[in-house]
């Protein structure tokens, strides 16, 4: 009898299928014109991966307490005295547990849908084999990351998804802005990666001897199923170096998940195709940072200082990103800021100690945010611009899209019963439950709650600008129409998820998944009266935000702020993204590059100059000495006699002195 659980060992099939897709499409894509340049092939593989992913998730849902680890040794160093008394192993393997199953479900579902959507959306672009190959590789790396069973392997895929993101952002590489954005994305996340790496090192070092089974190092730092994180068990809580490690992990997560202050790259990453934004920069890759924090908090644990830092970053980013979304005219960037903001919620939840709550929000957010992006993509596909102020009235010609966007917006705004409500409410109430014991969380909690209002406002501002009214504000726009079925099906499916994903929480098996994933820590708090009040507040704020948006932008209105308005400087500040990008560019272009030029000068003229100086010195010396070769034999005789006297002086005075002083021989 084959049971679903037998599938757990085959989780590696998901990345493997996508690698196959990458290889086949990458090598043969140019000859597969009939299959949409390999696109259909990629969809097929993604479908197969979806099947595996769904089956695994289903199996895990059936029995949420399972942890299935399969691994092989990557490389092994024999025991040596010092840090690794039991040897040192790096392993690669798959770990199917509640949270990875959950993530796998998200990745395969959204991945498949986006792949399908791309068939229609990307149809007119060049370089499709590259696109599908890279997208396949991304899915491979992302699913690999999700089921990685140790930090090292995690980091490996983490980097790979970053590179895929780099390539896909720079898909339109002829556009300077695209290649620049790709570079920026890579570099900023690289900063985070570097910190992440240091975090890994610290963990490896500190758990080399103290981890389970005689040293974590010996059997490869595998995330071991357990009820308590290592930090609590092995190291007994607080220590400076572990705090540093936690901060480093936070840095890594902040880079990937675009949290303050490493958030600058994500809006610019919108230079890539919208499908890429939907998959990578909304649903999956950017969520990897949150996933990392969750995994770390579950398996390793954070110190309380770390937790405060995480809460601070998450809470602040929530509000900070939302403010920038408020004024932006670009439909994709509005959603991008919204992504940053929503990721902030997740980080906040993980930081407050509720990893599973964060993951739950991640789960719902993946669907409704992908939905929003795909809907936006549909719009862009139709009208060829991303400028909200040029659009208008699209509701009439694009009903499916308008509805999908609205559903996504409602989910995002946290209006019940849409998915976002349940998860966001969980986040807020989870943090709220910690406030009595951690009063330092208060300001960030308040920011997060305030962000709810802004969220509702900006997403409906976008909706009204794009869809309400009679006709586009820019008459030169082409006549809008819905995309082909391949674009509509994902919208519908995702809409369904956006409506219903939050309701999963009432399914006992799903709850079991969250409970078991969390182990002993991070169980969502039980609802009480205070939570109801909180829910009401957040719903009220959401509705208020929508109302304000309707008031200002409804029916195709355009709200124009007077030039003399006192909030005008604030608007400029927000439009310029708090001048962060300018600052980063200045550091990069002016600061570092100037230093580099100076170093180049030193290299050429000081170091090489010294060498040439020696050369000139010898040449000069040679020239001087050459002049004693006068050609007059009497002079030569004089040298001989002078030499004779010199030898006398040497023999009679200098040499005896030296010998007496230093000893001979």
């Amino acid at each position: 009898m084959v049971s679903l659980a037998d599938l757990f060992g085959y989780a590696f099939l998901v990345p493997l299928l996508m690698v196959l897709s990458f290889v086949i499409v990458g090598l043969a894509g140019t000859r597969l014109k009939r299959f949409e340049w390999g696109g259909w092939l990629a969809v097929g593989f993604a479908g197969a991966a979806l099947v595996v992913g769904v089956l695994i998730a289903a199996a895990e849902l059936m029995d949420p307490s399972r942890y299935t680890n399969v691994q092989f040794t990557w490389f092994h160093l024999p025991a040596a005295p010092g840090v690794f008394p039991n040897g040192f192993s790096l392993v690669a393997g798959t770990l199917v547990d509640p949270i990875s199953a959950l993530m796998l479900l998200v990745v395969t579902v959204v991945g498949f849908l986006v792949m399908l959507y791309s068939i229609g959306y990307m149809h007119h672009d060049h370089g499709l084999p590259r696109y599908y190959a890279e997208l396949s590789l991304f899915l491979a790396a992302m699913s690999g990351l999700v089921i990685a069973n140790n930090l090292f392997e995690f980091f490996l895929f983490w980097e790979l998804v970053g590179v895929c993101s780099y390539f896909l952002i720079g898909f339109y590489y002829e556009k300077p802005s695209a290649s620049s954005a790709a570079k920026e994305a890579f570099l900023v996340t690289r900063v985070g990666d570097v910190m992440f790496l240091l975090g890994i090192f610290i963990y490896f070092y500190y758990y080399a001897t103290t981890g389970p089974s005689g040293g974590w190092a010996a059997n490869g730092f595998v995330f071991v199923r357990g009820t308590t994180p290592f930090l609590a068990g092995a190291m007994g809580g607080q220590s400076t170096v572990l705090t540093v490690a936690g901060i480093m992990i936070l840095g890594g997560a902040a880079g990937k998940s675009a949290q303050f202050p490493l958030h600058v790259w994500l809006p610019d990453a919108m230079e890539g195709p919208t499908t890429v934004s939907a998959l990578i920069h909304a649903a999956t890759m950017v969520a990897a940072g949150v996933y990392l924090l969750a995994v770390t908090s579950l398996f390793i644990g954070f110190t309380s200082t770390d937790q405060l830092a995480i809460v601070a970053v998450g809470g602040f980013t929530t509000f900070f990103a939302a403010t920038m979304a408020v004024v932006h005219p670009d439909i994709k960037r509005v959603i991008a800021y919204s992504t940053i903001s929503q990721l902030g919620y997740m980080v906040l939840a993980v930081g407050a100690g509720f990893a599973m709550v964060g993951l739950f929000h991640l789960f719902t957010h993946a669907f409704f945010k992908a939905l929003l992006f795909l809907a936006a993509g549909s719009v862009i596909h139709a009208v060829g611009t991303q400028d909200l102020f040029k659009m208008g009235g699209l509701r009439k010609s694009m009903r499916v899209t308008a509805a999908a966007f609205a559903i996504g917006g409602l989910a995002l705004a946290g209006i019940p019963p849409f998915a976002g409500f349940w998860s966001k409410d969980d986040v807020l109430s989870a943090v709220y439950s910690q406030l009595p014991s951690h009063p330092a969380y208060w300001p960030f909690f308040v920011l997060a709650v305030a962000a709810v209002f802004l969220t509702a406002y900006y997403i409906f501002r976008a909706w009204f600008l794009a869809f309400s009214g009679d006709k586009p504000r820019d008459p030169t726009l082409p006549h809008a129409h819905e995309g082909p079925w391949v674009m509509q099906v994902p919208l519908v499916v995702l809409s369904a998820f956006a409506v219903g994903a939050g309701l999963f929480i009432f399914w006992p098996n799903f709850q079991g998944l969250l409970l078991h994933g969390a182990g002993a820590a991070g169980i969502p708090p039980v609802y009480g009266p205070a939570d109801l009040a909180l829910s009401a507040t957040s719903v009220f704020l959401g509705v208020a935000g929508i109302g304000l948006a309707w008031a200002l932008w409804g029916h195709g209105k355009v709200f124009v702020l007077a030039d003399s308005s006192p909030v005008q400087p604030l608007r400029r500040l927000l439009l310029n993204r708090y001048y962060f990008k300018v600052g980063f560019d200045w550091i990069g272009a002016k600061g570092v590059y100037t230093v580099a030029r100076a170093a180049d000068f030193v290299d050429r003229f000081v170091i090489d100059g010294t060498v040439h100086g020696f050369e000139r010195m010898f040449a000069e010396l040679s020239d001087r000495l050459r002049r004693i070769q006068t050609g007059v034999v009497s002079d030569y005789a004089a040298y001989v006699v002078a030499g004779l006297i010199a030898v006398f002086v040497l023999l009679l005075f200098v040499a005896p002195y030296l010998v007496a002083k230093f000893g001979g021989g």
């Binding site: 050609g631 034999v633 009497s634």
Partner: protein, 105 residues
């Protein structure tokens, strides 16, 4: 037979050597140079004779024998020098050594 003044003899040979060196350094006429070399050479020969006289025995005889050989050698050297003088004079029309500076630097 008692000794002649020791300082005197070594002094004389040293002085002759110095005169010879002085001549070699300052004179420009090849023949004068030859003469200067001979003066210096004679200083050495004088040394041998002098030290032979004060050493005595077989070793002393050796000194005188050296002196005899050196006298012959010095004469031969002058002969070779003169051959070069003549050849040089033929080629350059001058035996001023300071003028022969084609080879330099």
């Amino acid at each position: 037979m008692s000794g002649l003044p020791i300082v005197g003899f070594v002094g004389l040979s040293a002085a002759l050597l110095a005169v010879g060196i002085f001549g070699i350094l300052t004179r420009r006429n090849f023949i004068l140079l030859l003469i200067a070399i001979e003066i210096a050479m004679n200083a050495g020969i004088l040394n041998f004779v002098y030290f032979a006289a004060y050493t005595g025995g077989t070793a002393g005889l050796t000194g005188q024998a050296i002196a005899v050989v050196l006298v012959g050698f010095a004469a031969t050297e002058v002969a070779v020098g003169l051959a070069i003088v003549l050849a040089l004079n033929r080629l350059r029309g001058s035996i001023n050594v300071a003028e022969a500076t084609e080879l330099r630097r």
